[in-house]
């Protein structure tokens, strides 16, 4: 059994604002093993990005623990020992704003090398060349500026930047959501190759379930700060249990009849996604749930487990699966 790279224990992150407490992440627990890819899926307000940023240390947790390779890192990054900044990296969602438009690619890629004094034998320039080679970009790109290259290539540079410090764990926050399908394919291919070569562990955040079907080892669905369902990929898609999962799956536009067969029968979602400031009482999903029962508006369900590592949080399964 591979070692656990990351473990979240009941992680909570609340933001206190004038309009109320935003419970962005409200009791999130999962673990990721070495060389696994956990797909974290959810829509706006689900809290997936908050979880990612808390793991990175951009936010400090309100409650709960984050264990990285067994060590507790449950605080903001400035309070963490420096070497964790090397090990845990992130690729942000929007390549347009995750690269400083006023810095050349060479300067962008050199920064992590300088901070952590990784110069190798040939100095920083040679290291940058090596990084560009790793992601199959021509070395001349060093001198370009982010706005001169396409969105897909910018994202590849962001990936190269994440790799600069030789990390073991990378959070990918919707890395391909803003990109075209053919570019996405290239980048996913690159990510999977790199995972093999460099023994990387990924936390892949997305709203694209079709992508997770082909890339994730396990999938977790989040809604309004809580995990609804989590299971190994094949099991997850074979029998999606949570009503929200079924709605998500049936909303995906697919391109072939075979896929159409696999989707749960057309369940239309109703209503807007509530804001995390006004989380509905009881089960946070009950207002939109087609299978809602009386108990759902009063009591928040607990997570129950099935064999094969399939966990779900829903009153439908209170009496066991």
């Amino acid at each position: 059994m591979a070692a656990e790279t990351l473990k979240l224990i009941n992680l909570k992150k609340y933001f206190y604002t004038k309009m109320g407490t935003v419970k962005a992440a409200d009791g999130v627990s999962f673990s990721i093993r070495e060389r696994e890819t956990l797909g974290l899926v959810g829509e706006s307000g689900s809290g997936k990005s908050t979880v990612a940023y808390t793991i990175l240390g951009i936010y400090g947790p309100t409650q709960g623990n984050i264990l990285f390779k067994g060590q507790d890192i449950s605080r903001e990054s400035k309070k963490r020992p420096k070497h964790f900044k090397k090990e845990i990296q992130i690729v942000f969602q929007d390549p347009g704003s995750s690269l400083n438009p006023r810095r050349s690619i060479k300067q962008i890629l050199e920064l992590p090398l300088r901070v952590h004094h990784i110069s190798g034998n040939g100095g920083f320039t040679e290291q940058v060349e090596k990084l560009l080679n790793m992601v199959e970009l021509p070395s001349e790109y060093m001198y370009k500026y982010p706005l001169a290259i396409g969105g897909g290539e910018r994202q590849i540079v962001a990936i190269a930047r994440a790799l600069a410090t030789n990390p073991s764990f990378i959070v990918l926050d919707e890395p391909t959501s803003a990109l075209d399908v053919s570019v996405q394919a290239k980048i996913i291919g690159l990510l999977m190759e790199l995972q093999e070569e460099l023994n990387l562990t990924y936390l892949f955040i997305t709203h694209d379930l079709s992508l997770m079907r082909n890339m994730a080892t396990r999938v977790a669905i989040m809604y309004l700060g809580k995990i609804c369902e989590i299971a190994p990929t094949v099991e997850f898609f074979k029998s999606p249990l949570h009503p929200y999962t079924r709605i998500l799956l049936s909303s995906i536009p697919v391109v072939s009849r075979e896929e159409e067969e696999l989707k749960p029968k057309k369940i239309t979602s109703r209503g807007e996604i509530p804001s995390p400031v006004n989380v509905p009482p009881g089960c946070s999903f009950h207002l939109r749930c087609p299978e809602r029962m009386d108990i759902c508006s009063q009591v928040d369900p607990e997570i129950t487990g099935k064999e094969k590592g399939h966990w779900v949080r829903c009153h439908l399964y209170d009496k066991g699966l």
């Binding site: 990175l56 240390g57 951009i58 990054s77 420096k82 900044k85 990296q89 992130i90 942000f92 969602q93 929007d94 704003s97 995750s98 690269l99 400083n100 438009p101 006023r102 810095r103 300067q107 920064l111 992590p112 901070v115 952590h116 001198y143 962001a158 930047r161 410090t165």
Partner: protein, 262 residues
């Protein structure tokens, strides 16, 4: 090594050519740039460009006093018979010096404080810097300059110091606004996540994104600084007996006009 140097240079030259292309798209930019170039050249080469360089200092020729523009003196002459055009060319020197010195001192101070306050928004550093800025902004600019100049001995140097003091807060405020919004951008967070220090983030990540508004403000400010300098001159607070500015003899002309009734 030589190969990378030439590659480097050719890249920089490309950048210059591209910038020139963008700049020259608008004919007004070319016209403006030409005017400024002419003025700067006249200022630098005043002793050669001016037809009567000796008129710039003390010179008297009452025969040709107060003449209207004519062929010999395109801008006419003043009460002492000195050629106005030559004096203007020498006056450019003072004004440009004033503009350059004031902005060179005020802008970096204001920008640095604005960057620091913007990046540390919400902390006590932000509060202290911005309240300090508020204090300087609250005093009417000319009053501040007059106060400073009258306390100290009137001189060009002191006038420039006074104007600088009232100028830096505006840079601070402008950059504060930009910096506090940029600090939430992904690329700043990416740098923080990697472990970059505050100095790097402020000057290498945030500052380059402020260049646009900063340079716009600098180019507009030049004009204003020169005007304020002239205003101080007009009330006699900026000169010592050697140097003359344009506004210097205006009071004299004004009073002579009043006395002579014309």
């Amino acid at each position: 090594m030589g190969k990378t140097k030439t590659a480097d240079l050719s890249r920089r030259w490309e950048k210059v050519k591209k910038s020139w292309y963008k700049f020259s798209k608008n004919p007004l930019s070319i016209i403006g740039a030409t005017i400024i170039l002419i003025i700067v050249c006249l200022a630098i080469f005043a002793p050669f460009a001016a037809p009567y360089p000796e008129h710039a200092g003390s010179f008297v020729n009452f025969d040709e006093a107060s003449m209207p523009p004519n062929l010999k003196h395109p801008f006419g002459t003043d009460v002492f018979g000195r050629d106005i055009m030559s004096r203007i060319f020498f006056g450019f020197r003072f004004s440009i010096t004033m503009g350059v010195v004031v902005i060179t001192l005020a802008a970096p101070v204001g920008i640095t404080l604005g960057l620091i306050a913007g990046y540390m928004k919400g902390t006590w550093v932000d509060t202290v810097i911005m309240r300090l800025t508020d204090i300087f902004v609250a005093v009417p600019p000319l009053v501040l300059a007059l106060a400073v100049c009258s306390i100290l001995t009137p001189s060009v140097f002191n006038a420039m110091m006074a104007v600088t003091l009232m100028w830096w807060p505006w840079y601070c405020r402008m950059v504060y606004g930009i910096a506090s919004s940029i600090k939430n951008e992904f690329f700043v967070q990416a740098a923080e996540v990697t472990g970059a220090g505050k100095l790097h983030i402020i000057f290498r990540e945030i500052l380059p994104n402020c260049y646009g508004p900063i340079f716009t403000k600098i180019s507009l400010d030049m004009g204003w600084v020169i005007l304020i300098g002239s205003a101080l001159s007009f009330v006699g607070l900026a000169h010592n007996l050697q140097h003359r500015t344009w506004a210097q003899w205006l009071p004299m002309e004004a009073s002579i006009c009043l006395i002579s009734g014309g």
